[in-house]
Amino acid sequence: MDEINLIRRCQKGDSEAFDILFKLHSKKALHTAYLISGSRHLAEEIVQESFIQCFKNINKLNDPQKFRSWFYRIIVRYSWKAISKEKINDIDIEDDANICSAPDEVFETIESLETRKAVRRALDKLTLPLKTVVILYYFNGLSTKEISKTLNCMQGTVKSRLYNARKILSKELKQYKSLSKCGEECKING
């Protein structure tokens, strides 16, 4: 069944269609919420609330083709709301510790670890709207037009945010290029 029909079925209150829609989108939604909030626990709460809102209001969605923008708008709003309540940082220290204790196969090379850390630092440096654009664009694969609908801002704003995010990451990568200390420690401890 294509997604348009699925959404139409949801709009008629078809509970089986809800289940399918959940299966289709829950993983991506959870990952998105995690990337924005930096907390697995919060991400689960965000996804739970977002799907409840989605199921409650899906009958108000006039154009099922706009579901993706509409749904991610809910996810983003709930994520921002959760962050503002919890005031948590993007990635906590515990996560960094996990990097070092993770098995080798998680990282293909030392470079990938460095890259990963550089990306994390870059993500940390982004403001919430900037970070959200990065996640929606690179992780969720939304177009700049879809992101502008999702975030209710101009397409040009999305593009400029992406440009800024690229610049910040580029700078971070240069800075971390020569660093391999943590990676070496992981190897030794592992």
């Binding site: 959940f22 829950s26 959870l30 697995r40 991400a43 739970q48 799907f51 890259t115 690179y138 580029s170």
Partner: protein, 436 residues
Amino acid sequence: MDNRNQIDNVWESVLKREVQKIDVPEDLLDKIKSEMRNEKNINRTFMNNIRELFCPFQLNTLRVILTAFVCVSFITAQILIFSENARVFALDSINNALTLVYRIVGYEDGEYKVDKVPLEEPEWFYHDSVFYADKYIEQIVGFPICFPEALSDDCNAFYGRNIYAVEDQNKNKIYMVSTIYSNNTGSNIIVLETSKDKENYFFGNIYNTKNYKVGNKEVIWGECPNLVFPNNDPRQKPIDLEITHVLLWENNGVYYRLWSANNDISVDEGLRLVEEIIDNKCPENTKFKHTGVLYGKNDISNDDVINMVGHPVRIPDELNEGFSLEYKTVSTITENGQTGYEVCGYYEQDNRHLKITMVKIDENYSALKNLPSTEVLNIGDVKCYWYEQNPSELEYKSDNFFEFKIDGVNYLLSILDGSFESKEEAISIAKSILEF
């Protein structure tokens, strides 16, 4: 590969790696469904679809029964017998015609009798899911409304009142008014209803009654049977029978009924609540306090709102940029010990929701004018304020607002689920209010 593509690839691959070990918990969908069921149950009650939950709203029971008797001549029907204890049903052989639904049609020797009867179309049953002030309701229904602000066990009345009506043979409306009390968690929801009509609303579908006394008032305790259908479809054979207990009494010529929407109430608990309600003095000045929201929905005219609040308000049905009025509310607010009114218009456009908050307030008051990034502009002679939050301050609410004052009333415009797309959009909307 150029530098930009490299950066893009890094972003993409690292973000994907970040989440590779995060799986959706197996019970997440169940949790969501459970939350929704809870919410739906409460909403159902609040939105007065109580009829779906319980029997009391088989209002015109006599009519149903009468129809059932008439139909006996035409339909070979086998009566279902319910045992109160076993709560099982016997199979019947009635065909599942679209126009026929299962209903309880009687009670004999401790057993409920269920029959298939023609579906009663709901046009005779009018209900309004909006919320009114008591003094307004009294004018409509023609009898006094006196409900306590709260019941014990932290049960506060939610919203205002809900009005139901049926038409008698002469097309006169017979009214019933209800209010719903709930504790904060929604785990205890009590429904209290009142009407001058005894049979249609309250006494027509009560079985196994017992009489009690509260002071000098006679209180009837009885059970109210409710059929449970597969998929809530009354055309299908019922799979169970639920019994809800209700309490009925008369006070000052008005009849009352009380029941619990989520826990079957015990006789002791019920009688205690009845005593509270009978003892309630219902002073005039408490009538609006319990809810805040006095009027709702767009079937309350602007003139009604203006009469209520005593000052002009501009609530067009349509605004520029395609926003249409969904409903309006009037709430009481207290400012420096003075009670005033807050009128809100709720509009919708392509799944975006606009709220206009209107308050008659001090001439110099403005919610936005002293904020750091507020811009002052004029539409004609009217001074307006446009405020846009710094993106880093974004929260789960509108990140821009528009405000102006006309006729001494302050208008604050905001998009509830996002923000105005531009200042120009807000100005355009404001113009349609100013020109109204």
